[in-house]
């Protein structure tokens, strides 16, 4: 795991230095994944040079909406975050978890396909926190997920979030906008000429990479500028979420009428769980070859919003959309804490942005807190303003 | 069989009754025994009474044309059987048959009603306790109705 004791030496890289950084990672046989424009949005894909990065683009995010808008500068990381986090690479949407072949008297396991070594460039602090949460869920339980473990050795170049988006609330969860750990290198972009990146290493190999990229020690001016930007950014969150007591709040409000209200809007389309960087639920599908000689067990992303998710001979435990929305929200903010010892949300705002009807997790939690059944105000709840 | 008063005096259904009240109830009671296979009563018969089953098991059955007798509940030692005496028409709704050798105390309905009118405290106590029996039977019937072990499809 990256992070740890490294000399506290702040460096600075220019645009060419960043290009060199990408090249050095490729030379070291990493497949470099970074943000790029795909279909009018920001997505994380293999990148080769800085020309592949979304220079001068910003993703204006709002409930149920995301639009790329041209910036007045050439910032390479002037966007908020990609439509998905890095989950598709570490916890693939579809993957073979086991394959076997019939032999004379039994079955032999087919060796799994090798996994690419990857470097992630442009990881936001919220997504670093999400990776740490998935580490807890998928690696720290009684059984570790071998598929996730095989993909977990990644080189991480994080980028601090200097301009949080309208749906962001990482500060409420303590996950940003600055990266604290979990990276080999963290960059803070300074766009004013000369376009440069203040860089810190989080590991020895991060130091080496910066050296190989031609990074120079940063001066006090640049260090102060980066620090100032992050202080300002922390105060510019689009939203807030009160996490104190949220576990008890949600458990106590299982019968709050708000669930029926939000259910009238929710399409149970499952998009929120697909874009959420911590959602981890999957389903298994067994299949075989036509000749019956090979069997393959495939694991695919699934969602608690699906009606079959809780199927138990004869019917689903959670068939109403109100119950399914309640399950997702309560799991994310409350029962996740009982199951894994930490809260499941990082405040990245993707579920708000990509929800087709713009349901806002922060608004729902506020509404439930306002109509908390424990304080006897349930009957006085106002109708949602939408 | 020991004295009916002794049986009533030690049975939870009659706990807390005063000596006079126990006497009044015992005055409406008489011992009854049934060999295995012998019916206690039939549906449609006059039901002016009830039973305290002291020992043995009784099957409550419903007979439907073409379906044969169907056991809807088994009454066991210690249970009270019958509440049709409370309100008219006083007729049994089910058949009851002794599954084993049964020792019981049979109460006369008219006598219980008279004793309750005379001593309304006694009447209130008996009514509360019979109501509890009815509630328990109804809860059980509801569970049976739900067919909880049945095929969920």
């Amino acid at each position: 795991m990256p992070g740890g004791q490294v000399p506290d030496q702040t460096m600075v890289l220019d645009r060419q230095g960043l290009d060199a950084l990408l090249g050095a990672l490729a030379d070291a046989r990493y497949e470099v994944i970074g943000p790029t424009v795909v279909d009018g949005a920001i997505a994380y894909r293999p990148v080769q040079t800085v020309a592949d990065l979304p220079a001068g683009w910003r993703d204006e995010q709002s409930p149920g909406g995301c639009r790329l808008v041209a910036r007045s500068d050439n910032a390479l990381f002037g966007h908020v975050n990609g439509a998905q986090g890095w989950k598709p690479f570490l916890h693939p949407p579809e993957v073979t978890v086991w394959s076997g072949r019939r032999t004379g008297d039994g079955v032999e396991t087919v060796a799994p396909a090798p996994v690419k070594r990857r470097a992630f460039v442009g990881v936001r602090p919220c997504d670093l926190a999400a990776i740490a949460i998935q580490d807890r869920v998928l690696l720290d339980g009684p059984v570790a997920d071998d598929v996730y473990a095989a993909r977990r050795s990644i080189f991480v170049v994080a980028v601090n979030c200097t301009e949080p988006g309208a749906t962001c609330f990482c500060a409420s969860l303590g996950t940003g906008p600055s990266a604290a750990s979990g990276f080999d290198v963290v960059l803070t972009e300074l766009v004013d000429e000369p376009h440069r990146f203040v860089a810190e290493a989080g590991s020895a190999r991060g130091m080496d990479l910066l050296a190989a990229s031609g990074a120079a020690p940063a001066d006090d001016v640049d260090r102060a500028a980066a620090g100032r930007m992050m202080t300002v950014a922390a105060g510019r969150m689009g939203r807030t979420l009160a996490t104190g007591g949220v576990r008890e709040l949600l458990y106590a409000n299982a019968r709050n009428p708000r669930w029926e209200q939000v259910a009238r809007r929710c399409l149970t389309c499952t998009i929120c769980t697909m874009v959420c960087p911590t959602c981890f639920c999957t389903s298994m599908r067994d299949g075989g070859s036509f000749d019956g000689k090979t069997a393959t067990r495939t694991r695919i992303w699934d969602s608690c919003f699906g009606i079959e998710f809780s199927y138990l001979h004869g019917g689903s435990v959670r068939s109403s959309s109100a119950a399914r929305y309640r399950q997702w929200l309560t799991h994310k903010l409350a029962s996740w804490q009982d199951q894994f010892g930490i809260i499941g949300c990082v405040g990245c705002g993707r579920c708000i942005t990509w929800c087709p009807v713009g349901i806002d997790i922060t608004e729902e939690v506020h509404a439930i807190a306002d109509s908390d059944v424990r304080s006897g105000t349930a009957g006085q709840q106002k109708e949602a303003t939408r | 069989m020991t004295d009916v008063s002794d049986v009533l005096g030690t049975h939870p259904f009659f706990f807390g009754l005063s000596a006079e009240q126990l006497d009044a109830v015992a005055g409406c009671a008489a011992p009854a025994t049934f060999d295995a296979g012998v019916p206690l009563f039939h549906a449609g018969e006059e039901a002016d009474g009830c039973y305290l089953i002291v020992d043995g098991d009784v099957a409550l059955e419903l007979v439907a044309a073409g379906r044969g007798p169907h056991v809807i509940q088994t009454i066991h030692a210690g249970d009270m059987l019958g509440w049709s005496w409370l309100f008219p028409p006083h007729t049994w709704k089910f058949d009851a048959q002794a599954l084993t050798y049964v020792r019981a105390v049979r109460f006369d309905g008219a006598g219980l009603r008279a004793a309750s009118d005379e001593d309304t405290d006694l009447g209130y106590t008996l009514l509360r306790r019979f109501t509890q029996v009815i509630i328990d039977r109804m809860q059980a019937a509801r569970l049976q109705l739900m067919d909880i072990y049945g095929d969920p499809r």
Partner: protein, 281 residues
């Protein structure tokens, strides 16, 4: 308890493959399959389950229903309700079956030592309890009073009738059986299992109750035990949820704060009661 993984791939989801020894039809759609223990010996604790599969068809969680004193055989009782379970019951001696496990929190037999043990089973719920009954009766002097209370739909639906007869034949266990419905030929008790709890003799202040059956049945049985004075933390139920991995990674088996495969299936009633009464949790 070691999780079975294929040593070649080290894959969590890789089954260990073994063969069917016998198949017994218990009731209309319920079968008991005895497998050669994978690896020759398959130790487990009563209340645990495995993930069973047939090659290329699908994998489901199944309770272990055999005697833990004999780990050379893996005995599991399966109700045929879907494609995967149908494939697992449509087997013959020699059929290949994939096994992962054993998984889950078992019945608290150690904690029950020195106390009365009241086993309350409903319908197919007797299957995950049978190993516990075997274990308790094999170590009978560790426990005080032992009651086995069993409710089923009709006399034809009594599971493990042979075992029930054997247990009833002992002098050191109270076996009380009831059915919801019967015709004239049934000379036993007709009524709900909650009424049997009321009639059973045990010391509620020093009882460990093990309850398994349909959710409704467990809820009312727990209610009857509590009404009799048993403490909620002394009542244990076995939960059932959709399970796809059995090891706490797929998220399907959640019930409130619990992952049933990892934190259950056996849980204290005191822990789960608040969630049992909320709809669609």
């Amino acid at each position: 308890m070691a999780t079975l993984v294929d040593p070649v791939a080290g894959a969590v989801m890789a089954p260990a493959w073994t063969r069917v020894r016998t198949v017994t039809k218990e009731l209309g759609d319920t079968f008991t399959v005895a497998l050669e223990a994978p690896g020759g010996s398959f130790p487990f604790r009563p209340g645990q389950f495995t993930m069973l599969s047939r090659f290329g068809i699908g994998e489901i969680p199944i309770s272990i229903s055999g005697d833990p004193a004999d780990p050379s055989s893996l005995v599991q009782t399966i109700r045929s309700v879907g494609a995967a379970s149908l494939a697992l019951t449509d087997v013959a001696p020699g059929s290949l079956v994939g096994v992962r496990g054993p998984f889950g929190v078992p019945w608290p037999l150690e904690a029950a030592a020195g106390r009365d043990v009241v086993v309350v089973a409903g319908g197919i719920g007797l299957a995950p309890l049978r190993p516990a009954i075997h274990s308790v009766l094999a170590n009978r002097d560790r426990y005080r009073r032992v009651c086995v209370l069993y409710g089923a739909r009709t006399p034809a639906d009594l599971l493990f009738a042979g075992d029930l007869h054997t247990w009833r034949g002992r002098f050191d266990v109270d076996v009380m059986i009831t059915v919801d419905n019967a015709d004239h030929s049934w000379k036993g008790s007709v009524g709900v299992v909650t009424d049997v709890i009321r009639r059973a003799a045990f010391d509620p202040a020093s009882t460990t109750a093990l309850v398994c059956g349909p959710g409704v049945m467990m809820r009312f049985a727990a209610g009857a035990l509590l009404a009799d004075g048993v403490a909620p933390h002394d009542v244990f139920v076995s939960l059932e949820r959709n399970m796809q991995c059995g090891v706490g990674l797929c998220g399907h088996c959640q019930l409130g704060p619990l992952l049933v495969c990892r934190d259950g299936p056996v849980v204290r009633w005191s822990e789960i009661a608040p969630f049992f009464s909320i709809r669609e949790v």
